[in-house]
């Protein structure tokens, strides 16, 4: 119960703290609008049916990833600069519980990018948005949220180890968008890149969402992808637990919880 209170309170604090930052508001509100418009203009002559759904989801997912990148990861740096990272670390509350609360808060708030992207496509282009399998889409979005939460926790832990957080989060933002096929199918990437794409859980989450939008004719295919996503997410969870145990010791040995 106490852990749940910590998660809930951290989630609220995180949402409050994130939303008041202009950069976060830009990532949450402005970026999905701009991305949706740009993607629409790029895709409108592609000859694909139902491309607006592609555009809406692509814009939304790009915004979601940017928000996660600049919040879950960037928050470690912000807390470090504010001097609060060390304070929360030495409280009796489990550090991993606090990190989970932060990531959950960010992810929930960041889901707003999908809504903004949807509204942009609808209002600006009066785009017809067809979701053939809405039930599967809901399941896919839920799976995607879990996948983004686990990847964010791994990132947040890894970035606790270093003071060069800003550099790393800038380095990973765009490559993940490209590698995970947020705006185009990963199959068009060079073959040697594909193993990296397939090792990243968002790639499978995006596949699930696309399949739900275009219609799940083959349930076996859907659940196979869901199974792969589940397996990779489990690997990330195990990795998070390992990182949590290792990094909580390492940060105290390397003294990286504070600004040097």
């Amino acid at each position: 119960m106490k852990q749940l209170i910590v998660i809930w309170d951290t989630l609220r604090l995180q949402m409050k703290n994130s939303f008041v930052r202009p950069m976060y508001r830009f990532c949450l509100i402005a970026a999905p609008i701009v991305q949706t418009i740009l993607l629409y203009e790029m895709y409108k002559n592609s000859g694909q049916d139902n491309f607006t759904t592609y555009v809406m989801l692509g814009g939304g997912l790009m915004g979601l990833w940017s928000c996660i990148c600049f919040s879950s990861a960037g928050d470690i740096n912000r807390e470090r600069s504010m001097g609060t990272l060390s304070l929360i670390f030495v409280t009796p509350a489990n550090f991993s519980t606090i990190i989970f609360g932060k990531v959950l808060g960010n992810t929930v708030l960041s889901l707003g990018t999908l809504i903004i992207s949807f509204l942009t496509a609808k209002i600006v282009y009066h785009a017809p948005i067809m979701v053939v399998s809405p039930g599967f889409l809901l399941l896919s979005i839920f799976a995607a949220v879990i996948c983004f939460i686990t990847i964010s926790i791994c990132l947040a832990y890894l970035l606790t180890l270093s003071r060069k957080t800003q550099l790393y989060m800038n380095c990973i933002e765009i490559p993940v968008i490209l590698l995970c096929g947020f705006v185009f199918p990963v199959e068009i990437l060079p073959v040697w890149v594909l193993p990296i794409s397939y090792a990243l859980s968002p790639t499978w989450a995006v596949k699930l969402i696309r399949l739900s939008v275009s219609g799940v004719d083959n349930r076996m295919e859907y659940f196979t992808i869901l199974g792969i996503l589940g397996c990779i997410t489990m690997i990330y969870i195990v990795l998070s637990i390992f990182l949590c145990r290792t990094i909580e010791k390492q940060v105290r040995m390397k003294a990286t919880l504070e600004v040097s």
Binding site: K2, I5, V6, D9, T10, L13, K16, N17, V20, M82, G83, T84, S86, L87, I88, F89, V90, T91, P92, A93, I98, K249, R252, M253, A255, L257
Partner: protein, 323 residues
Amino acid sequence: MSAVIEVRDLKREYITTKGWVKRKKEIIHAVNGITFEVQEGEIFGLLGQNGAGKTTTIKMLITLLAPTSGECKVLGFRTFGEEDNIRKRINFIFGGEMGVYRRLSARDNLKYFANLYHIDFPVASKRIEEILDLVGLSDKADLLVETYSKGMVQRLQIARGLINDPDILFMDEPTVGLDPLGARMLRDIIKKLKEKGKTVLLTTHYMYEADELCDRIAIINKGKLVALDTPNNLKHMVNGISSIEVLVGEASEQLISEIKNIRGVKSVSASVNEKGNIIYIKHKSDCDISGTLFDVLKNKKITSFTQKEITLEDVYIQLVEEN
């Protein structure tokens, strides 16, 4: 009384690397084998210059840093490996404006930390009101911290440090940034904590503060402990030394040099204030230097001449200079 803090041959090194191609490792010995104990209910002071190792020692004690070697125990538990038994019973206050969520109100900051310390809601609510009142922030408790002055942020830091009613409170230069009223308020809080049987370990650069508050004081220099005793006993360590302060119109280097050459003079320093130049002279008590000193100063405009008691500051300066 039992020891609630046990530190034995404690060392902490920081490793830094320089260069891109040939990376050079540099080891900094921040704390270099210190040993001390703090008894329950004691107010214990750690004094030392900037970089002496005080803050690193506190960070190891509050479980934020791992020791490189040696023993570091709080409430009988190792600070690295058994920290879960310690964290709920201690808290700390760092000086300065960091360590608060500026985009939250003071009350929200305290509520959040109360939750992180697993304090039940009714207890937390009551305690938050009491603490806000104690630090004089009750009427500003719902304003965002970003609108606070430096002193108010520092008061909030103090409030946060008291949120879990800790058995041991660690304070690292807690009066930095506080106005005289705020500093007095904090000293009163520390005295009240002592009355309640709490243990306080504090570092400060204000010697009068350490003298007024501390039962015992440890002086650290370059990561090593150079003295540990009660303030009075520390003053006796420099027995045989007397101090004179002279306020003069002019204090040239030649004058300082002439005073230094007087037989029995141990050290001379000077500073300037709005009234003129103050010359501080330390001399052996068994040498009466006043006659020779007046000869040296005979053409100078002397505004005041004071024979002073040895202070903790004198002891501190002497010990640090000797080491």
